[in-house]
């Protein structure tokens, strides 16, 4: 009698403990973090797109005042078309090679634009043009948004990858989400070469 009571209560305890353990493990952490990463990535793409959309207008305005800067202007146009032509494969976030390509093409456009903004310093008339000032502030704002979107993306990937690579998230993912893969994140190695050079 006493033994059956003991075994039943201990069984209940075991089940309770197990349930608490599972609850504490948070079996939804992987898909939830995955969604966060996707949202952050969309914002990155969104802001890069916004920058690409600004370029034609900007180039046109600058060309009106500084036609002799043809080389710099052409470099911007080419970098833009390369950046927008990159086909994003569906596995871009888990494929290091295509992620690096994407990062490089965007960095090239960023570099070309930065050079353009250095060049325009020579044209006071352009710099007082209302349209140009408006475009310049939009470009600055967009670059700022890109920085923040990238930082948010990096943080979300860090969270996701940590969940995927540490115990117990690793066990949970192994059983429930075998398709989950560590995601790529931004680094400066692909971009450092593209930093604008100022010539005097």
């Amino acid at each position: 009698m006493i033994r059956t009571f003991f075994s039943r209560s201990s069984r209940i305890f075991l089940i309770l403990f197990f349930a608490m353990g599972v609850a504490a493990c948070d079996i939804n952490a992987v898909p939830r973090n995955d969604e966060e990463v996707k949202a952050a990535w969309s914002e990155v793409l969104n802001q890069y797109q916004r920058r690409a959309d600004l370029v034609p207008n900007l180039v046109e305005t600058v060309a009106g005042y500084a036609r002799q800067e043809k080389e710099t202007l052409t470099a911007v146009i080419e970098a833009r078309s390369r950046a927008t032509q990159v086909q994003l494969p569906p596995d871009i976030l888990t494929n290091p090679e295509s992620f690096r390509q994407f990062q490089q093409s965007q960095a090239a456009l960023g570099g070309a634009l930065a050079r353009l903004m250095v060049v325009v310093e020579k044209y006071p008339e352009l710099k007082s043009n209302q349209n140009f000032l408006s475009l310049q502030s939009q470009l600055e704002g967009t670059e700022n948004r890109i920085t923040i979107a990238r930082r948010d993306y990096i943080l979300s990937v860090q969270k996701y990858n940590t969940e995927l690579r540490t115990i117990p998230g690793r066990w949970v993912a192994g059983v429930l989400y075998p398709e989950a893969e560590v995601k790529q994140t931004f680094d400066i190695s692909g971009e450092a070469k593209e930093a604008p050079k100022v010539k005097f």
Binding site: F17, S137, G141
Partner: protein, 247 residues
């Protein structure tokens, strides 16, 4: 007999260990937040850490901002800081906005006018939801035309007043309308006992809200307008909209 109990003990031990791991995971696995600057306390709609504003000016601006929030549910906060702690003002601004959660939650309708006199930098930080109205170009124009001329002459009060009024105007609220600035205090006397009771209950909820139960979702609401201490952010977020200027 013995072996059954041993097995049971072993199972117990394994499950306890698993549970312990999970608990440890939860406690230790919280992502260490990236290095953040130290932000001033959100003590009201005007946080004048750098002491640029006189009390009457601060109260006047606070009155505008409170009326603006009542009219539109949007939040504008004016902040002056002593020190950007080495961060670019763009970086400081959006982090401050996120930490304070200025603007309505989900709509992200918050704006911060941030002045850093020691770095000679000013920024209008615009929440996601207002980027379409208060665009980067308009923010830049406000800074160049309404704020910087006064700042260059060392007249910070005038610059802040002009800038705040211009932002409010762009967002569809005319801060100079005297009728709108002063909320009619008489209306309080018309309250029926029932609505007074409801207000008291709401007040209690707001007080708790500041301690985290509703985590500031209710914003300053009605009460933030009347008592400076009751103001808090609505949970809005920022993504780098706006513009900066230097003088």
């Amino acid at each position: 007999m013995r072996s059954i109990r041993d097995r049971r003990t072993a199972a117990w031990a394994i499950r306890s260990a698993a549970l312990l791991l999970c608990v440890i995971h939860i406690v230790a696995g919280l992502p260490a937040s990236a290095a953040e600057p130290k932000f001033p306390q959100l003590t009201g709609r005007v946080v004048d850490e750098a002491a640029l504003l006189s009390v009457p000016v601060r109260d006047r601006i606070t009155g505008w901002l409170a009326a603006f929030e009542r009219a539109s549910k949007r939040q504008l906060v004016v902040v002056t800081v002593k020190d950007l702690q080495g961060y670019p003002i763009e970086d400081f601004g959006y982090r401050l906005g996120r930490v304070w959660g200025i603007g309505e939650k989900d709509k992200n309708t918050g704006v911060i006018l941030l002045v850093a006199p020691n770095e000679r930098a000013v920024r209008i930080e615009v929440g996601y939801g207002l980027e379409g109205e208060l665009t980067d170009a308009i923010s830049r124009a406000i800074i160049e035309r309404n704020i910087l001329p006064a700042f260059r002459q060392g007249n910070y009060e005038q610059g802040v007043i002009n800038g705040t009024a211009a932002i409010l105007k762009v967002l569809g609220w005319d801060g100079e309308t005297p009728g709108a600035v002063v909320p009619a205090p008489e209306s309080q006397q018309e309250l029926s006992p029932l609505s007074l009771l409801i207000l008291i209950i709401l007040f209690v909820i707001f007080r708790f809200g500041r301690h985290g139960i509703f985590s500031g979702r209710h914003g300053g609401g009605v009460w933030g307008a009347r008592s400076r201490g009751g103001f808090s952010g609505g949970g809005g977020s920022f993504g780098g909209g706006g513009a900066s200027g230097r003088w």
